[in-house]
Symmetry: C3
Subunit: 190 residues, 3 copies
């Protein structure tokens, strides 16, 4: 009788205890949430200023131990093109939020040479502020193990060939992005 | 006595075994992570080039079995407007990253007719490269079960009425987006 | 013997029952997915129209009980600058998707004064439609507990000082963003 009670008690104790154990393990599990270690970025813009956010975010995440993939698509292919220095330009007309050294009437912003001037100004501003040049940011990302993936569909639309891109670049389609992003808490379309 | 020991052993065995079972189930559970099957996209831009990313990503995700919602807001409402062919235009001035067939001084890019020319050029480039036209991409998304949701708040700001949109479009606000996105690993603001 | 069998039964019952309990707890746990309550937004654009999406989304999410952080970086710093009313302007040239009251040839869009005109038009359109002004949206976000974080790296690049920003703004780098975003289902780069 005593033993029967004990068995019954054991059984009911079990349920309470089991739920407690499950909650403990779940608590630990949420902290180890694999999605919290993964980052999938789409880089879709091809101007000098917009080349920074994906490369900066990628490097920062990788430096803090996260697994990062950056997918370059559309105009973003410029960022990893061998000729990126010529391709990454800035239009001040396109962006009234760009800080200009001197206030300028809108038409002046559309004058010939202004894109070149704006690009130079931005480059020098970035340099003066100690911002890493794009070439170094590309290298830092690759060294930290960030996967730089060129979208093979848009690549063709823009008339590029695989050999047009810097060393270390991989190639893949939307499927490659989705398989990373669906397991990542941080997904950013830049 | 023997039985008492067995009960005690059973109890301690239980804990070890229970933790093992919990970890097994957790492992399986992470693989079935419901958030890995959900995609919530905001489409906020209204030019021809930027109409592609949300519709392409939506179709690709739905084709691989994911549950997709695209919320069209702000300028993105153009993409599902009945008159989308006239509304989705491209400004080359706005985008120095847009590949032009011939290098052009910046001012020329602002000449009357250039938006029309740039839009035609892009359309023909997309066509030559075998890219699906927007009309077909809209249909593909609807066939694959992608929910196309027009933001009812910005709709009013832009002076549109519900009947201005293509068939199959639903209507909803920020709440509709949040309820999808908070359960989705892939959230993209395009 | 009877008791021995019972112990054995108890043990095997346990496994079945334990798995059932684990699944019940997991089911509950997924519903309480902590990532479903967190939102991390990057606001990177500095024009009047693009000031709305991060502030609207932030307020809507906070109002439905979510924990929200908005990181202002690059041109997005304009949105929380004390002088935001002068800084948040709109260029119609940059955006052929912007609805203009009268169709206009492209060059006219680049004439001096057009940015000012477009900004005024947008402000009045927003006002007529009952859209909350930026100043109120900033206040609503702070009242709802949304954290407004200025990126301290780009702050320096743009020549701003901490005292240039509205009251209630915090300061932080990419690390601050990553630590929030890696635990959040909703991450948006706007």
């Amino acid at each position: 009788m005593l033993l029967q009670t004990e068995v019954a008690e054991n059984r009911s104790l079990a349920e309470e205890r089991v739920r407690q154990i499950v909650r403990e393990e779940l608590e630990k599990s949420w902290k180890k949430d694999p999605a919290a270690r993964k980052v999938a970025i789409i880089a879709s813009k091809g101007t000098l200023d917009w080349a920074y956010p994906p490369l900066n975010l990628g490097a920062a995440a990788a430096a803090s131990g996260m697994e990062v993939s950056i997918f370059f698509t559309f105009y973003g292919l410029n960022i990893i093109h061998k000729d990126f220095e010529r391709k990454l330009r800035i239009s001040p007309v396109a962006n009234p939020a760009m800080p200009m050294p001197i206030p300028m009437p809108d038409l002046v912003l559309a004058l010939p040479g202004m894109i070149t001037f704006a690009t130079r100004m931005m480059r020098s501003r970035f340099k003066k502020q100690g911002l890493v040049p794009i070439r170094e940011l590309q290298a830092v990302n690759l060294e930290l193990g960030v996967r730089l993936i060129a979208c093979d569909t848009t690549l063709e639309v823009f008339g590029y060939r695989p050999e047009d891109f810097i060393d270390g670049v991989e190639f893949g389609g939307a499927g490659a992005f989705l398989s990373q992003a669906r397991r990542a808490h941080i997904t950013a379309f830049i």
